[in-house]
């Protein structure tokens, strides 16, 4: 039986938080639990499709360790979560507007589309909400 849906609001652009959000989203999605990820604020910049992959993540000491040890890439993990499980990824429409981005600017093949916070929060009433 599917578990209660997990709703993750990802605001931080810190590599460590992006990585944790990607791990939670992908593992949750492949564990028979619907997961919905809402990307906003500084987190949006990590999903810039025009940025070089090695420039994508900004972080601290643990980010450095993850790069050295070649931990799984956060965006690759999210792609796996979508491919193997029940994961939806949305870009915050307000963040896109403020950044002056269209959805075309986002990394390919990951986002289900843009969404407003009101709709996301309304949907999240049926599940567990985590903000990072």
């Amino acid at each position: 039986m599917a578990g209660a849906p997990l709703y993750i609001v990802l605001c931080s652009g810190d590599h460590e938080k992006l990585q944790m959000a990607a791990m939670m989203a992908s593992v949750g999605a492949v564990s028979e639990r619907p997961v919905h990820l809402f990307v906003s604020m500084n987190a949006l910049f990590a999903f810039d499709g025009t940025a070089a992959a090695d420039q994508r993540y900004k972080g601290g000491q643990f980010s450095k360790l993850m790069r050295e040890k070649k931990a799984p890439d956060a965006i690759d993990l999210l792609r796996q979560g979508k491919e193997l499980g029940d994961l939806s990824v949305y870009a915050c429409s307000m963040a896109l507007d403020v950044a002056g981005w269209s959805e075309d600017r986002l990394v390919e093949g990951l986002f289900n589309g843009a969404l407003g916070l009101t709709r996301f929060l309304s949907d999240a009433e049926n599940g567990q909400l985590v903000v990072m």
Binding site: S26, P72, L84
Partner: protein, 76 residues
């Protein structure tokens, strides 16, 4: 007779071995087995948890010299 497929995920960190195993388990037949080799201690604990959660069967976990062998049977 059931078949066993081996996945060598040594060197990959959590949740890499789990995700590799899930991708592979979709491709095998019910009753067949997967053997995952993982050098990541967390995955050696997490994979059995996932197997229990989604209803497959854990055949066994064996600690080798510098890695773990986790054998899973596809149950559904």
């Amino acid at each position: 007779m059931s078949k066993r497929t081996k996945i060598d995920a040594r060197g990959a960190f959590c949740p890499g071995p789990l995700m590799e195993m899930i991708a592979a388990i979709k491709l095998i037949e019910v009753g067949d087995e997967l053997e995952v080799l993982s050098s990541d201690k967390g995955s050696a604990a997490d994979i059995p948890e996932w197997v229990k959660k989604v209803g497959h069967e854990l055949v066994g976990v064996t600690q080798e010299d510098k890695y773990w062998s986790i054998v899973v049977r596809k149950a559904k």
